[in-house]
Amino acid sequence: MIRQRSAIGLLLGPFVALLAVVFLAPTLYAIYLSFFARTHTGLGFGNGQTAFVGLRNYGVVLTDPSFLQGVGVTLLYSAVFIPLVIVGALSLALLFDSGVVRLRQISQTILFVPHAVPGIIATVIWLYLYTPGISPVIDLMKGLDLEVDFLGLEMVVPSLVNIALWSGLGYTTVIFFAALRAVPQEVIEAAAIDGAGPVRSAVTIKVPLIRGTIVTVLIFTVIGALQLFTEPMLLSKVTPLIGPRFTPNMYIYDAAFARNNHSLASAASVLLLIVCCLLSFAVTRGAARGGKA
């Protein structure tokens, strides 16, 4: 019994220690900072002090038009990106699993490779492809009489979604495919004997059986989408349509490092954390309820 306990401690220890140092401590510190801020009265000269400011920073974040716009942009991005990546990856995984696709392993590898490219590098690659004057793609499309400004007003969000899809689709496909491989072969065979074609067995047998995986991937994708940062940060260097507060995460970065207001940044971070937790909870609950029905 004691040995078992110490084994648990030993095995969980590193995880708990890391969790405490890199997650819990910073989170608690951020919560502290969001309530205790540098504050002034009147004009503010010569009377600055650090004091408890209650929910003031939260009120400011929630009434800041630039933050609310960032939330809007993220919602729009999520509404486009999440269905595309989930449905796309699931379809590809089902295709691979059904054996329709030849050279499965090579195709899978090709799909997966972009995931191995770090997000910054991926964005730089796409930046090159998006920039008029240097992009071979834009030149090629011009040859076909197609004029597209990838960094223009209507194309900014689609261009961001495209980068994220390119990086994320293969990875998600591989996760779904691994889950599909774990579906017992007898179940599929039984379905086939009962007369289910490949499409029907995919939709009514395989997908429900990997529902747990789909929910997990959905949670990660939602959280990832809410934390959109690297891609728009880099694109903001080349198009004025992406400002320094384009997404909530960029807002936080701007508040901390451009505006020097760490309390405001902390309040926005805590809000983002709460939203992420709530959404994860909602997705899990929704899935559980759906499972019962």
Partner: protein, 425 residues
């Protein structure tokens, strides 16, 4: 012979001395951060004359380009220098954050008298002084005399004439001037001239309005020029714009006095072709002029050598030797806030780029037209970024007025989050 070990030891030593901040040693040299052109020759001149009170200069990048962040971080870490040069727009932030010390009691009556009321207005908040003005530079118009003459265009003296001149030149494929989406300070100078003000004080409260009558007047005028495509739209300091200046596709440059020498070093090929004129007026009978950025010196709150620092700062602002040293670098064309230095400055300034024209005589007349009714906000870097972001969207249909409205809406939350009392007028 330099061995690896001695190199390491030397590196370690410099690291150590670097850490033991000289600001904490009351007998150590004054640490001075500046991004102003020509400061190194000023410091050399001081050190030659005052070997017992040495100043160590570190040249830093200008405020928005990283200097502000560097100073904030250093102040937080407790190793800020004793003296810092800064733009007037950045002073409210550093005064508010307690980085720049309240130096009211260090300012002598003589210094106060020598710099004039308008200059002090940009350094005084709530009746306390937080910086010593170095210059007070009115907006000027630098123009290509040869191009204007060739096309029979007179130097505009009013904004109406300016528009006509822009139309005449545009018909010949030349832009009279450029519009810089990253130039909030130039636009602010136009607003100052109309009498508009973005920030003000009412009792113990900030009053904010980026779209008052004056601001909208300036916004509508420049928007009109943009709509007629009379302006070369490109960021200030960009290669695109400098190339257009060098090739004579842009015929003038609106900038404060300090920009006179800067232009000469940016487009050296234009030597002899450029001239200086007063910036256009709205009404010649009621002249007024704005400025796109003045410089000041502040003492940090943590400095333990405040009196020595003040001697050095006072010398920079009021001594003919200091302005002579600064201009001897050939890279500066400051208009000192202290009028008594103008003769020394005029003597030192090399006028070859401008065909021998007397810059200081002209600037001195404009100096008188400046007013002290302008105040910068407590977070100008952030406000400016908002304005720049809006102006950069002009090709996508944003207007100058819209950029101002958005910037104001993004500035108010910043101020509230600091606990400041703020209302919109």
């Amino acid at each position: 012979m330099i061995t690896r070990r001695s190199l390491l030891a030397a590196a370690g030593l410099t690291l150590l001395t670097g850490c033991s901040s000289s600001t904490k040693d009351p007998n150590g040299p004054l640490k001075f951060w500046s991004s102003l052109r020509g400061t190194n020759t000023v410091v050399d001149a001081w050190n030659a004359k005052n070997p017992r009170e040495p100043v160590v200069l570190e040249t830093v990048t200008s405020g928005f380009a990283g200097g502000n962040a560097k100073l904030s971080n250093a102040a937080r870490a407790g190793n800020a220098p004793d003296v810092v040069s800064m733009a007037d727009a950045d002073l409210p932030m550093f005064a508010l954050d307690g980085v720049a010390t309240d130096m009211t009691d260090l300012v002598s009556a003589q210094l106060r008298a020598e710099l004039g009321e308008v200059a002090w207005s940009g350094a005084t908040f709530g009746g306390r002084v937080y910086g010593v003005p170095l210059d007070l530079p009115p907006l000027l118009m630098l123009y290509r005399e040869d191009i204007l003459r060739e096309h029979g265009v007179d130097v505009p003296t009013t904004w109406d004439e300016f528009r006509e001149a822009a139309r005449a030149l545009k018909a010949r494929n030349i832009y009279l001037t450029a519009f810089h989406p990253n130039g909030y300070n130039l636009f602010a100078a136009h607003v100052m001239q109309t009498g508009g003000r973005w920030f003000g004080v009412d009792g113990d409260s900030w009053v904010v309005n980026f779209t008052d009558a004056g601001s909208l007047k300036a916004a509508e005028y420049w928007q009109g020029l943009l709509d007629e495509q009379l302006l070369f739209l490109a960021p200030g300091s960009s290669q695109e714009w400098l190339a257009a200046l060098a090739e004579g596709r842009v015929a003038s440059h609106l900038v404060s006095t300090w920009g006179v020498a800067a232009l000469a070093s940016s487009v050296p090929g234009g030597a002899g072709k450029w001239r200086i004129a007063a910036a256009p007026q709205w009404d010649l009978a009621k002249p007024s002029i704005g400025r796109d950025g003045a410089s000041l010196h502040v003492i940090t709150a943590e400095s333990v050598k405040k009196e020595r620092a003040m001697r050095f700062i006072e010398w920079m602002s009021t001594s003919p030797e200091a302005i002579t040293a600064r201009l001897s670098s050939g890279r500066s064309s400051l208009l000192p806030a202290a009028p008594k230095l103008w003769d020394a400055a005029a003597k030192q300034f090399k006028t070859t780029f401008y065909g021998g024209q007397d810059l200081y005589g002209l600037a001195a007349k404009q100096y008188e037209l400046q007013h002290g009714g302008w105040m910068w906000g407590p977070r100008m870097q952030s406000t400016a970024t908002s304005i720049h972001h809006g102006l950069a969207r002009i090709p996508y249909g944003t207007t100058i007025a819209q950029a101002l409205r958005d910037a104001e809406a993004e500035t108010l939350p910043d101020m509230r989050s600091l606990g400041l009392s703020v209302r919109r007028s």
